[in-house]
């Protein structure tokens, strides 16, 4: 990220911020979509995050850390959208799939569906760590810096998130009888 743009935007230059937003918009939206798994929520979260970035930019002390800082604001916006979504959505319960996991596992539609279900069961905290680390290839130290949490917490969240995803895949791999939601 061009730190000169960041500095100019910090001092209220709307043109510089527009350039920043264009440059950062796609990556922020990609991350929001992967955390929230919903295109509309992701658009709303990205929009809110960009506005929050503009609003709080003067408080960023080191312009070189803009990228990491912007992810933190994005994840916070994702929290907000997720909680709004929970309040406005009917209380649906997902049913386990009948199909066992395909033998080759890796790229089947069933796998993706199971992963999606497992991922949606994770909290936003856990999803954010998975996405930043496994989608952006961010080292764990970078994830800790971006989210403003200790490295140990990142490791712990990643461990439990991956365990949850594994459990989702393994559990859904076992043939189960479809049950009606209570």
């Amino acid at each position: 990220m061009d730190t000169d743009l960041v500095v100019r935007a910090q001092s209220g230059d709307e043109g510089a911020f527009a350039s920043l937003a264009v440059a950062a918009g796609d990556r922020l939206h990609s991350v929001a979509h992967r955390i929230l798994r919903d295109i509309d929520l992701a658009e709303d979260a990205t929009q809110q995050a960009l506005l929050n970035i503009w609003r709080d930019l003067p408080q960023l002390r080191d312009p070189a850390r803009f990228d990491a800082w912007s992810y933190r604001l994005l994840v916070r916006a994702c929290y907000g959208e997720a909680s709004r979504s929970r309040r406005s959505s009917p209380n649906l319960r997902l049913l386990p799939a009948d199909e066992p996991m395909a033998a080759d596992g890796m790229s089947s539609v069933v796998d993706r569906d199971q992963l999606d279900r497992g991922f949606r069961r994770l909290s936003i905290d856990h999803r954010a760590v998975v996405v930043l680390h496994h989608y952006l290839d961010m080292p764990l130290e970078g994830v800790a810096e971006s989210l403003g949490i200790p490295l140990g917490t990142v490791r712990s969240r990643l461990h439990y998130a991956m365990r949850g995803l594994r459990a989702a895949l393994d559990a859904d791999a076992r043939p189960v009888k479809r049950e009606a939601a209570q």
Binding site: H29, Q47, Q59, W69, M162, L165
Partner: protein, 242 residues
């Protein structure tokens, strides 16, 4: 599922699928709102103590000396046979704050003078040289401040926000984390400034005391923030606002 590597590979492959482009209409909506969205400026003015004229500097120093003398006499008086005065102890502090959620709400301190703030900062161990070097200038803003802090409820993810004000001007904001019944960490919104604070709630009174200029997740806060937060938090107890 065989190995962790398999799982990682599946997850990475799955994450690679999905949108990567922000629609123009979203970007347009953001840029339309920017002119109507004021930026939050940096919190406390960083004017140099050196900009004070000699008389003002002398006044501040004299006030600090007088206050220190009064405190010293009071402490000495107690130690040489005066009546026992109840003091706060860590044990009392813990029992006085049975629930971390007690801190949620708005707390206001009475008006404090520049001299009181300076005396507090010095009593906390900062030297005149450090205070000067920090660039702290909050004390110079007309000399009087009326601080208040609003500690928010935790949101669904457990994140708690706080905002500190001087009169009605927002000084700084960020997040706070309750460690236990007597300790919390507060960090600025960009996470670069984090301090560990002991808090004691007795009735409708809140006392704050910075016990560590950093947090386990962050190094020591810059000197300016240490000095400014000391002045805000420690100059006077806060009273709960309805």
């Amino acid at each position: 599922m065989s190995t962790d590597r398999d799982l990682t590979s599946i997850v990475r492959s799955w994450l690679d699928e999905g949108v990567t482009v922000l629609p123009d209409r979203v970007l347009d909506a953001v840029l339309d709102q920017v002119p109507m969205t004021p930026q939050r400026r940096a919190r406390w003015p960083a004017r140099r103590f050196l900009t004070l004229n000699m008389y003002a500097r002398f006044g501040v120093a004299a006030a600090a000396v007088v206050l220190a003398a009064v405190v010293g006499i009071a402490l000495y008086g107690n130690s040489v046979g005066g009546p026992a005065v109840p003091t706060h102890s860590p044990t009392q502090s813990v029992s006085a704050s049975p629930s971390p959620d007690l801190i949620v709400g708005t707390w206001a301190a009475p008006k404090v003078t520049c001299a009181q703030q300076m005396a507090t900062v010095k009593a906390a161990g900062f030297t005149t040289k450090q205070i000067t070097r920090s660039g702290w200038g909050g004390c110079l803003e007309g000399g009087n401040s009326r601080y208040s802090i609003r500690y928010g409820e935790p949101d669904l993810s457990g994140v708690r926000g706080y905002v500190a004000y001087d009169n009605r001007s927002q000084m700084h904001s960020g997040h706070y984390r309750v460690i236990d019944d007597a300790t919390l960490e507060d960090s600025e919104v960009d996470g670069e400034v984090c301090v560990t604070v002991r808090y004691v709630i007795e009735g409708d009174q809140l006392t704050l005391d910075i016990i560590d200029p950093g947090c386990p997740s962050a190094g020591p806060a810059p000197l300016l923030d240490q000095v400014a937060l000391t002045a805000i938090y420690e100059t006077s107890p806060f009273t709960r606002r309805p």
